[in-house]
Amino acid sequence: MTDHEEIAGLLTGYALACLDSEDEEAVREHLAGCAECRSELAALRLSVGELAAAMAPCPPPAGLEERIMSALPRIRARPRLIPPFLAAAAAILIALLGAGNVLQWQRSQADSARRAAGGLVTMALLGSGAGSSAFGTIVLDPEDNEGVLAVRGLDSPGASGRYQLWLVKGERKASGGLFEVDSHGYGSLVLDVPADFRGFDALMVTLEPRGGSASPSGRAVMQGSR
């Protein structure tokens, strides 16, 4: 219905985000089905970027760097060493998850979501939604400072996504970190509990963009509470 020639003439305005709204709508519809216009648009956007990058820089205010850095979601930058007692617990958990005896595992967890084992605290997480077979567990040290999460049965988050663990305390939520799952659906994560989230009430897992989010943007795919 829309004429390729006519749309091609509007692409510049589209790249500059300065089209009137009906034109913008027409371009968007046409782009979905026209590879030629999409590639032309990519080139035009590059030109817009070049025009912007040619503007003279201006020294930003002194506090801006820290404001930007402190707004980042609390996410561990690099993997770190797992404390030995948690590593041992995690190895057992992962073996349990891998044993495939799901029912038995779930039953043992259902008895008490929170069990003290050698001073460690465990919590179960179960997949949300009827179709989910995901389950997992988290082991925390007695002071609630750090823990290890192991999960099984999650779908791959895709190349551009990551699972993100959230600690829930009252109305507040804090990131517990990002994790991936392998081709068998296993994932694990070492968790640092922020000081103001010790004694948190619940945990949840959401699917987020690869860099993580400052607050959950999707629905929980797993949940657990004390």
């Binding site: 003439g9 509007l10 510049t12 305005g13 790249a15 500059l16 985000a17 300065c18 089209l19 009137d20 034109d23 990519a42 080139a43 035009l44 956007r45 590059l46 030109s47 817009v48 970027g49 070049e50 025009l51 912007a52 990058a53 040619a54 503007m55 003279a56 820089p57 201006c58 020294p59 930003p60 205010p61 801006l64 760097e65 404001r67 930007i68 850095m69 707004a71 980042l72 996410i75 561990r76 930058a77 690099r78 190349a159 551009s160 990002l178 963009p209 690869r210 860099g211 993580g212 989010s213 400052a214």
Partner: protein, 190 residues
């Protein structure tokens, strides 16, 4: 120049892996550019700061989608910053006074130094080429393009502001962008 692009590419990959310090490096390198774009478009320091925060948060989230074959990091950030600034400008109760900014003026203001001399050195050559190409545009094209680029005005708003037929405005902007592309080539830093 080549090394510069490689360094930036590596930086973006570290950001995609959620390394906070890499974002700090990106800010130290391009914070001046991003803040400058926000300030010049909105004319408001507080709004420009918000724009910069948004842009670096977008970079944090979107680093994985950055494609080095589709332009330098400065170009990528520059476009995000320009678009955010235009959004902010549209949301401002009182818009700044009509067009004062032009790339010609920016070229004159070139002694505005970036906080990072390396940043300036790496980018200024390309920036000069772009400004020169803009300066060579026929005045009618440059004016129409400036109103769209700096003010985010729509084709019909520009037509009204300049007292020109809509079709003339559309073709001026289109021709301006076309000749910039012809002059500057597809690539980033050749």
């Amino acid at each position: 120049m080549q090394k510069e692009a490689q360094d930036d590419d590596a930086l973006l990959r570290r950001i995609a892996e959620a390394e906070g310090e890499a974002l700090r490096e990106l800010y130290r390198k391009y914070g001046g550019l991003v803040y400058g774009i926000g300030l010049r478009i909105t004319g408001d320091a507080a709004v420009a700061e918000e724009v910069a925060q948004d842009v670096f948060m977008s970079a944090w989230r979107g680093a994985a989608s950055y494609r080095p074959d589709l332009g330098a990091v400065a170009t990528w950030l520059g476009r995000i910053a320009r678009n955010r600034a235009i959004d902010a400008l549209r949301g401002m109760k009182s818009r700044p006074m009509p067009l004062r900014e032009d790339w010609g003026e920016l070229a004159d203001a070139e002694d505005t130094r970036s906080p990072d001399p390396a940043e300036e050195a790496g980018r200024s050559q390309r920036a000069k080429e772009v400004r020169a190409a803009v300066a060579e545009l026929p005045e009618g094209q440059r004016t129409a393009l400036s109103l769209a680029f700096f003010k985010g005005m729509s084709h019909s708003e520009i037509a009204a502001a300049l007292g020109l037929p809509l079709g003339t405005v559309k073709s001026r902007i289109r021709d301006a962008m076309r000749s910039l592309r012809d002059k500057l080539g597809e690539g980033g830093s050749a």
